[in-house]
């Protein structure tokens, strides 16, 4: 796994100087794809959670709430899958443009990685403490705000 990852990284870095204008367009499209997928994955999931919690507060127990509760697992899986695809697209975009690496992009990569890692650990670990830690970390609003701000900064400054 590690060797494959290393090979992929080296592949992108080696190919990078040979990238044509078309390849750059594709790499840019990957960046926009990452943003789009991230927005879809997170907005839908956050809205779903809000509706579920509000309905639980105001409606009590009903069929609608039960069906919403049943939907939780598929919604969570969709959230994870879309975010993973978006993260990979974003990272490939970053690797293709690694020669233009600047502090804002690096900050964005750090925040993305922290959120992604905490989300994956939250889903796929069984240890109670690790789960609580990642639940708290993944739900920190300051990280989300930073992610949005850094994406905006990156989009505005990337062409420079």
């Amino acid at each position: 796994m590690m060797y494959t990852l290393l090979y992929l990284i080296l592949y992108f870095i080696t190919l990078n100087p040979l990238a044509s204008e078309e390849a750059e367009d594709i790499a840019k499209a990957l960046g926009w794809m990452a943003i789009g997928i991230g927005v879809i994955a997170n907005v839908i999931f956050v809205l779903y959670n809000r509706v579920r919690k509000l309905s639980l507060t105001y409606l009590g127990s009903s069929n609608a709430i039960r069906s919403l509760a049943v939907m939780y697992k598929p919604m969570l899986n969709m959230h994870i899958a879309l975010n993973t695809i978006g993260y990979i697209a974003g990272m490939v975009h970053g690797l293709l443009f690694i020669r233009y690496l600047e502090p804002i992009t690096l900050s964005l990569a750090i925040v993305m990685s922290v959120l992604m890692l905490s989300g994956l650990l939250l889903r796929y670990t069984s240890s109670r403490d690790v789960k609580i830690f990642n639940r708290l970390l993944h739900g920190q609003s300051i990280l989300t705000i930073m992610l949005v701000l850094l994406i905006m900064l990156h989009v505005f400054t990337a062409d420079d």
Binding site: I110, V111, D129
Partner: protein, 134 residues
């Protein structure tokens, strides 16, 4: 939200702000010598006339200003043009430095915020565990 959780939230933001401020100050301090060094180099270039002595223009600073010799006057003009190029380069350097400083500040703030959030979360978990043990 209870009073204790309010205090915790306030503490968290205080810690985060402090960390961000420390990292920003560290970043500024680290970048300051570079900016000053660039300015010093620029000043040295202006003060140092040795480069021009070997070329066409010698003794320009005093005589050319008086306008006694045409050749020297021309030399002065060319030198001024040369200085102008230096000015442009200097401005570019300063601009790049400022830009990279702001971007570096963003990086320092991000690292500080991420470290702060991870630290706060870890501290919360440890506190919870110690409460459970008691």
């Amino acid at each position: 939200m209870s009073r204790s959780s309010d205090t915790k939230q306030a503490n968290l933001y205080l810690v985060l702000m402090t960390l961000t401020a420390i990292v920003m100050i560290m970043g500024l301090t680290l970048h300051m010598p570079t900016v000053y060094a660039a300015d010093d180099d620029k000043d040295e270039e202006y003060d140092d006339d040795t480069d021009y002595k070997d070329g066409t223009f010698t003794g320009i600073n005093t005589k050319a200003r008086e306008g006694t010799e045409e050749r020297e006057y021309k030399g002065n003009t060319e030198e001024r043009e040369y200085k102008g190029e230096d000015d442009d380069n200097g401005e570019e350097k300063e601009g790049e430095g400022l830009g990279s400083n702001v971007a570096s500040m963003v990086l320092y703030a991000t690292v500080a915020a991420v470290a702060g959030v991870i630290g706060y979360t870890g501290w919360k978990i440890l506190k919870m565990r110690s409460k459970v043990k008691v």
